[in-house]
């Protein structure tokens, strides 16, 4: 596990056959230079740095949780935690036509994917995929939304991460993770929501499996109301 600071030359043995340069690495002429501090990761021809940060920068293809702030003309204006607001067109929802507009109000939360990040314009999101099907995106009703750091979000939905599965063994709940550092979840009662939220926030710095299981167990058995 090697850490690179900005300005370091990335010189890993496997880097010579990687053809996809990812996040955090810039290529200057022949050399690959790190531009953000992070741990080097490589996998099947891809190389990138895993960067810890809290501020989201829009990236095409990312699925994020957005809050509706206003309706203007043909668009909803959304807050995704970046410097500028993003927007989504009315027609980019499943089953929406010019007459049949989606029923969203200010303050509603939606799960959408970023599909256009032209540099000087606002980012544009969509709630449908290429074939106009929602595939899980759209409005999230009820529940509770909170912020965590971006790297923790990515870690939660990593295929090898057992945090959510471990919590799932004890609790009955549903969760949506946005790549902009926002997590929305819904569970049977307020107590459950509070416990699960605490476990997720505390699990950011937990490395060992046993520690994790202990944490979840403590979360499950403690009483919330005092």
């Amino acid at each position: 596990m090697t850490i690179y600071l900005p300005g370091d030359v990335v010189n890993e043995p496997s880097s010579s056959d990687s053809s996809i340069i990812g996040y955090g690495i810039n290529v200057r002429g022949e050399t690959k230079v790190a531009s953000q501090p992070g741990v080097y990761r490589s996998d099947e021809g891809k190389m990138w740095l895993n960067v810890h940060s809290k501020r989201y920068i829009p990236q095409e293809g990312d699925r994020v949780i957005a809050i509706v702030t206003s309706k203007t003309g043909d668009f909803f204006r959304l807050d995704i935690g970046t410097a500028e607001y993003a927007m989504v067109n009315f027609t980019n929802f499943e089953g929406a036509t010019k007459r049949n507009r989606p029923n969203l109000k200010t303050g509603d939360i939606i799960y959408a994917s970023v599909f256009d990040t032209t540099p000087r314009t606002e980012a544009e999101l969509t709630c449908v995929d290429d074939e106009k099907r929602a595939r899980g995106m759209g409005q999230l009703n009820g529940g509770f939304m909170f912020n965590v750091s971006l790297n923790h979000c990515r870690r939660l939905i990593h295929p090898e991460c057992k945090i959510l599965q471990t919590i799932g063994k004890f609790f009955k709940f549903e969760i949506t993770v946005g790549m902009n550092g926002r997590i929305w979840m819904n569970a049977a009662g307020v107590d459950d929501i509070i416990k699960i939220h605490d476990v997720i926030v505390k699990s950011e710095f937990v490395k060992e499996d046993d520690e994790l299981i202990n944490l979840v167990q403590n979360g499950y058995t403690r009483s919330v109301s005092d």
Binding site: S19, I21, W48, G61, D130, I157, I167, G168, K172, E174
Partner: protein, 188 residues
């Protein structure tokens, strides 16, 4: 109605207005992807030809570097919505769909296992009715022949006449019941 000289119109390409319709979306995407691929392949060939002819230095493998800043592709992340212990059935179905997509078992344009196969389709759309009608329209001889066929395949007892007649009448009853059923008018 006389037709002109028998020319067969062979449709090689779908018309653009047809492609614009919503139900043709997935087909349209496939066609566009194919076109883009063939265009790329042609370009590459051209470049290769021109390279071979010119005496320039061979392009190093480094020039083929691709930039990808999308973490979900880099780290092969799961879909962001999850549900545990059946809290939300729709989301659990979605989890399975995306899992299959991630493992490459399912291409993007196939339906997620809710496909109805042809047999079922025929049955529900009235294949059963058709079979019943055609049975009614059979002559006695044909019916008897079918009987024999059924008995032969099931290996039934041919020498028990009572049973044959019973079975025969039973079968007839099954076949005719949907036709003979009296539809009671609703009093309310």
């Amino acid at each position: 109605m006389t037709s002109t000289s028998s020319e067969r119109v062979v449709v090689k390409e779908l018309s653009s207005s047809l492609l614009d319709m919503k139900f043709m979306l997935s087909r349209k995407k496939k066609i566009e992807a194919k076109k883009a691929k063939s265009r790329d392949a042609q370009l590459e060939e051209k470049i290769r030809e021109s390279e071979a002819s010119s005496s320039s230095i061979a392009v190093t493998a480094e020039a083929k570097l691709e930039y990808c800043n999308d973490y979900s592709k880099l780290e092969n992340l799961l879909f962001g919505r999850m549900s545990f212990n059946g809290f939300n059935k729709d989301v659990e179905l979605l989890m399975e769909y995306y899992e299959k997509l991630r493992n490459g078992e399912l291409t993007d344009d196939e339906d997620e296992g809710m496909d109805v196969n042809d047999q079922e389709m025929a049955q529900t759309m009235g294949g059963g009715k058709l079979a019943a009608l055609s049975k009614k329209a059979q002559t006695k001889r044909e019916r008897a022949q079918q009987q024999e066929q059924n008995q032969e395949s099931s290996g039934g007892r041919r020498f028990n006449f009572k049973d044959i007649r019973k079975r025969y009448s039973e079968q007839n009853g099954e076949g005719e019941e949907p036709e003979r059923k009296f539809m009671r008018p609703n009093d309310d």
